[in-house]
């Protein structure tokens, strides 16, 4: 039995301090108060002082409460028994079923040796032209949906998850609304996917530290499954709450903030999670789709900004549509050369025309005279929006490409397309 300490010498924010020896950095302790028991983690050692971050917060802790060190860092069960189960951020069951303690793995484990990574090669088909044609999603990609409150980002996340061919879905909810939690659960259930899903859910009313644990819990489990050969899709919503939890904790710990109150290691913290996305040679893979709601719809805000620097592209979800500008899948070129020979060209050309259309719209709104070229663009833009951008469109990639040629043909002459002649000969629709 490990030693129990009864003298808490300092309580500040969510951090308590005890005097103890033989305690390892990163280890867990159990803090027992009159209100119950909470886990706490060693976040600093200084001489004989041990600083502990209490998961449930420090409210109600008294100086003579009991602290018992567990002798190991945070762990999570990684067995198959997790499938179909729902947990809190610290791994307690949310579904009134038993606690799971088999095949425990440490969370936040070491990173994959870059020399053992492979170049991703499998397209994930979603049936959404804005994704499949223009910003192809790739197995083992890490990709956030940049959006704002009120947009149907959770619906989009769920739709992609249901359509993607993966073995396991792991949902990490951070500051998730109860309704959204139910939405995910019901969607998974309706599609018969609940039994191949695991959920770690932190809701807005749960302690803030548990919010921080969610991605690590999800990814530790995902890693284990992937090593066992499973293709795992991890959904994280909303990473903005995760970052805000970090900020809150950093401020209570009096760390010097770097940018708008966020800690200087925001980038490294986010990266260490997102970089868990991987394709293991000879085993499975982890793909991460996350939601990042942009405070003030501002992409230069530190959270989306740092995220964009880490992830392999992003989807902008605005007005219920995936925006062609700014949205980007950086891995698309790994797969879109093997789909169809016109894929890349359609992708580039249609976006360029759509950009020109936007400019024309601007001119039109300022009351300028429209040239015949402008008229073509106006026609094109509207067709593009209904045929490609509307999220209700659900067609396979090949059909979408054909539709692309058809649309361009309806609007432009072949010489105006800027497309290499040999491709035009092959694909430009004949009369």
């Amino acid at each position: 039995m490990r030693k129990v300490y009864h003298r808490i010498i300092q309580i500040a924010g969510i951090v308590i301090t005890v005097e103890a020896d033989d305690v390892a950095y990163g280890d867990l302790a159990e803090v027992t108060t009159s209100r119950g028991t909470s886990l706490a983690q060693v976040i600093r050692l200084q001489d004989s002082k041990v600083f502990l971050q209490v998961f449930a917060g420090s409210r109600g802790i008294s100086t003579n409460d009991q602290v018992r060190f567990l002798g190991h860092p945070m762990r999570v069960s990684s067995s198959e028994n997790l499938l179909g189960r729902i947990f809190t951020g610290s791994g307690r069951p949310r579904d009134h079923r038993p606690m799971l303690e088999d095949q425990l793995v440490e969370i936040g484990g070491p990173s994959v040796n870059p020399a053992r990574r492979i170049v991703p090669k499998n397209m994930i088909r979603t049936g959404i032209p804005m994704i499949d044609v223009f910003n192809t999603l790739v197995e083992s990609q890490k990709l956030p949906i940049f959006s704002v409150a009120g947009e149907p980002y959770n619906q989009l996340l769920a739709r992609i998850a249901m359509q993607a061919e993966v073995d396991v879905i792991i949902l990490g909810g951070m500051g998730l609304k109860h309704d959204d939690y139910l939405f995910f659960r019901n969607t998974l259930d309706e599609h018969g996917a609940l039994s191949r899903s695991v959920m770690f859910v932190h809701t807005a009313s749960d302690p803030v530290v548990e919010c921080l644990l969610v991605p690590d819990m999800c990814l530790a489990v995902a890693e284990k499954y992937a090593l066992d050969g499973k293709r795992v899709l991890v959904l994280l919503t909303d990473m903005t709450n995760f970052a805000d939890a970090m900020k809150e904790i950093a401020i209570t710990m009096e760390q010097i903030p770097s940018n708008r109150g966020y800690p200087g290691d925001l980038y490294s913290q986010l990266a260490s999670r997102y970089e868990k996305a991987v394709d293991f040679e000879g085993a499975g893979s982890i793909t991460i789709l996350a939601v990042t709601t942009m405070p003030g719809d501002d992409v230069t805000h530190p959270i989306p900004d740092n995220t964009g620097y880490i992830t392999e592209g992003q989807f902008y979800l605005r007005n219920g549509r995936i925006e062609p500008f700014g949205s980007l899948s950086r891995l698309k070129q790994q797969v879109n050369s093997d789909t169809r020979s016109d894929h890349r060209t359609i992708m580039d050309t249609m976006i360029r025309f759509y950009a020109d259309y936007k400019e024309t719209l601007e001119k039109q709104s300022m009351g300028f005279q429209m040239s015949s070229w402008d008229d073509k663009l106006l026609k094109y833009g509207e067709l593009f929006e209904t045929r490609m951008m509307d999220l209700s469109v659900n067609i396979p990639l090949e059909e979408a490409l054909d539709l692309g040629w058809k649309t361009m043909k309806e609007c432009f002459d072949r010489t105006e397309s800027g497309i290499k002649t040999d491709l035009l000969n092959q694909y430009w629709p004949k009369d």
Partner: protein, 577 residues
């Protein structure tokens, strides 16, 4: 001995340890924290009284107060010798392929392997003989490393005058074999092997003088070589918001730049991007040598989820390796992606040290560290009269894409060329997204100055017309102005833009650039007469189309000539004779 250099942990805060010691420690010396059978590499970064603060290059989980720390007395160093090329190292020069063999998928902490192969034999040819007087950096012999003569050099730190007293004959040797014995005036003897250690944070300065970088480093990227050139031995930076194309640009440079040695420092960025290089380079051939690109490359890979302190070290490791090959008279190109991540690593550590923060919480000494890093670039004349160079290109990832931030600003003060990538251009898929109006370079272009000035001026005026058209509309714009705008767009599309991923267009040789730029210049200068703007617009679209096809044709091929003729024909349509 044992007691003299050990200490005891008294504090752990993230990756910072506070260690109490009894005797003495040296600032920046390497120490190992002992965790069970693991030895966690660390570096002394501050000393106060009998306590030292150490940054640990590993996860510190599991360390306890009272755990032992061994000081080595050595500054953080790299091993220099034959066999560095083709290697993939982490920020501390751990060979990642060997680590993978030993530990599998994951990077296990506390596992360090030799950077060089101590079992392989190299075929050695001596240059120095007994009786020769030598000093640090002198070429004593060489071994073939791929296509290069890898010179075995007198240790760079060799002070004073030395004489060769023993020399090994030609033959096959291990890098640890003693090849020479040197003696100085005081009669001290020193053995020289093929390997030497050098502390990464100190520049190798075994050369006669630093020269002014004048020669253009051909990158085969039109907008760089023609508009914003880089010099051999110069420095440049590529700041840009996320997704603007910094990494794609660096990868293109690493493939196509006409350097002998390319060192890629993947510093705190995505692991996946390095993997692309690792998997591709061994298969891509270098047209200038016929060997693979890997044969001229070294990759330093300390990606964003790898330990932050090692990230800080990684750029120094990289530049030290570059300096080493420079000492052999080679042209080395160091590409660091991204220097902002290095700066952030400094910021994290500064925060833990509770130093007084500067702007955006970066340490106050950020600027001098950045300057010091770029200062390690240069064209040098070696002691033997040969020249060698280190060219440094760093990408910068400014917060919010706003260049008014400490890392970008500090970098701009010291580099010779600024290739600013813009969100506006990358959103419009105008790649490379180097902004043609904001960027600048102090180095020499491959194009003739008057043509360049004309083109630059046209870009500026085209932009003005475009801005004006947004206010007064196309119909209010005079056709002459409109044609200027069309010309500037033409220049952008057919010359500034370049398809990095195309086999032909991706790499545009110096000769081709000069040739094509002449043609473009002629078009920019030509006087056209059009009936109306629609006609002008259509004409330039068609011309652009033909020109792009031309760009995709192999230089001086039949196809190339045929397409050129077509362009010439097209030109006659609306120009005055």
């Amino acid at each position: 001995m044992q007691d003299a250099n050990t200490g005891k942990i008294v504090g752990v805060n993230g990756n910072m340890l506070t260690v109490e010691f009894d005797t003495s420690v040296t600032q920046n010396e390497v120490a190992y924290a002992l965790l069970g059978e693991h030895r966690l590499k660390s570096e002394v970064i501050r000393v106060r009284g009998n306590r030292a603060d150490l940054q640990v290059f590993e996860d510190t989980r599991g360390l306890k107060v009272g755990d032992r720390v061994e000081f080595t007395g050595q500054l953080l160093s790299v091993e220099l010798g034959p066999g560095l090329l083709t290697q993939v190292y982490d920020g501390l020069q751990n060979p990642l392929n060997d680590l993978a063999e030993k530990s599998g998928f994951f990077l296990q902490r506390g596992v360090y392997l030799p950077a060089l192969n101590y079992e392989r034999k190299w075929s050695f040819t001596p240059l120095a003989k007994v009786g020769d007087r030598i000093s640090g950096g002198d070429w004593l012999g060489w071994v073939p490393e791929g296509i290069f003569k890898h010179y075995i050099m007198a240790p760079f730190g060799l002070g004073g005058a030395w004489e060769v007293v023993k020399a090994a004959p030609a033959g096959d040797y291990l890098i640890s074999d003693v090849m020479f014995q040197l003696k100085n005036e005081k009669g001290e003897l020193r053995d020289v092997t093929m390997v030497q250690q050098w502390p990464v944070k100190i520049a190798i300065n075994a050369y006669r003088e630093k020269l002014l970088p004048e020669e253009t480093l051909i990158t085969q990227m039109r907008s760089i070589d023609t508009f914003f050139p880089v010099a051999v031995g110069g420095t440049f930076c590529t700041p840009g918001p996320f997704g603007a194309g910094k990494t794609v640009l660096q990868h293109a440079l690493s493939q196509f730049a006409e350097a002998d040695i390319v060192i890629i420092a993947a510093c705190g960025e995505r692991a996946g991007e390095v993997v692309e290089i690792l998997r591709e380079f061994p298969h891509l051939s270098d047209p200038r040598t016929g060997k693979t690109l890997m044969d001229r490359s070294i990759i330093i890979c300390n990606t964003s989820s790898m330990p932050v302190a090692a990230r800080e070290a990684s750029v120094y490791t990289a530049v030290t390796l570059a300096e080493y090959y420079r000492e052999m008279g080679l042209k080395c190109l160091l590409l660091a992606d991204s220097t902002s991540r290095w700066a952030q690593a400094l910021r994290e550590m500064s925060g833990r040290l509770e130093e007084i923060p500067g702007e955006e919480a970066f340490p106050a000494y950020l600027e001098s560290l950045i300057a010091g890093f770029y200062e390690r670039a240069g064209l040098v004349r070696l002691n033997n009269g040969e020249t060698g160079s280190v060219t440094i290109g760093g990408s910068v990832s400014p917060a919010g894409g706003n260049f008014e931030e400490p890392v970008t600003q500090s970098t701009l003060k010291v580099v010779g060329a600024f290739l600013g990538l813009s969100r506006e251009r990358s959103d419009a898929r105008r790649y490379p997204a180097i902004h043609p109006l904001d960027s600048w370079s102090k180095y020499l272009s491959v194009a003739a100055p008057e043509k360049l000035d004309f083109a630059r001026n046209l870009l500026r005026r085209g932009n003005e017309v475009n801005q004006m058209m947004k206010v007064i509309g196309e119909e209010g714009t005079h056709i002459n102005d409109f044609v200027i705008y069309l010309k500037s767009e033409f220049l952008d599309y057919v010359y500034l833009q370049q398809n990095t991923f195309d086999k032909v267009d991706g790499a545009c040789s110096k000769e081709r650039q000069i040739y094509v730029f002449d043609k473009v210049s002629a078009i920019l200068r030509a006087k056209f007469d059009f009936d109306d703007k629609d006609q002008a617009h259509r004409y330039f679209l068609e011309l652009r189309q033909m020109f792009i096809d031309w760009n995709y044709a192999e230089f001086e091929s039949e196809e190339f000539n045929r397409l050129e003729q077509a362009v010439d024909e097209k030109l006659k349509e609306h120009t005055h004779a």
